[in-house]
Symmetry: C2
Subunit: 161 residues, 2 copies
């Protein structure tokens, strides 16, 4: 029960594009080299970010990916949903309806959602809310505070000029 | 990024043992039949609950599993940790240190935890807290409120008498 590595890759790529700051598209190979990632797997994640409205894909020889909107308008939840989808964390298969116990229960008992699912959903709502309350600009600011030169290093590594 | 089916199976099994209420051990096969589950896979989950201190295993021909403590003293988090382990939801592989960007950053920049990891961890803490705040007795009470006859049905299906 863990996120795929795509969430980490996507978060860092979005931050790197923001540090680059010139709005020019960056090729997948260059973004991948930035953190020594598989370009083909990264490309799949970036396509998901395009579908999720967080990146724009620019075609052509000088094409690549650029931010679709400022980091202040992207929450961490937006990134997680774009990469992982919005299926619930808790896998409920309604076993309460099955077997020697389920068969004895009147159908009316199942009109209400399962109490187990409700309890798990309550925690998941807290998780999503905490993800939604943090923008990527917040994350960038925290990284800048920890390591004030990180933006300059990204521009040196990925810069076009 | 989802829980395995083990969490649902474990939660319902613990509730069923509480509804049974007589403290007698119940065999895996009987517990599995209660919700038409695979006995061998359920048994693996129940062994995890024993390791986690939530169930006791009673050996012998009339053996099986019984609650190790009352549901009021078990949180939903206890069950999730027993089944899923306590690895973080977010998979951080420290890609920030790698590649053309990471190589440019001074080691001192990595003394602080990665801002992405911190942001994801904040949400995970909210999720764990919400799981910890709910006892299995709370879940049982919610189920009893939705379906007041559920306990009687479990006793009919799993009862020893």
């Amino acid at each position: 029960m863990r996120t795929g590595k795509g969430v980490e890759w996507a978060m860092h790529t979005l931050l790197n594009l923001a540090w680059l700051g010139d709005g020019e598209p960056v090729a997948t190979a260059q973004l991948a080299a930035g953190h020594d990632l598989s370009a083909s797997y990264l490309n799949k994640q970036l396509q998901q970010l395009v579908k999720g409205g967080l990146l724009e894909s620019v075609p052509g020889a000088r094409g690549g990916f650029r931010l679709a909107r400022p980091l202040a308008a992207m929450s961490v939840l937006d990134v997680v949903l774009a990469i992982e989808g919005d299926a619930p964390l808790f896998r409920c298969t309604e076993i309460r309806r099955c077997g020697t116990i389920g068969e004895r229960c009147p159908d009316a008992g199942f009109a209400q959602p399962c109490a187990v699912k409700v309890a798990m959903g309550r925690a998941e709502a807290a998780w999503r809310q905490a993800l939604a309350e943090q923008s990527l600009a917040d994350v960038q600011a925290a990284a800048d505070e920890h390591a004030p030169t990180v933006g300059a290093h990204v521009r040196q590594a990925l810069g076009h000029g």
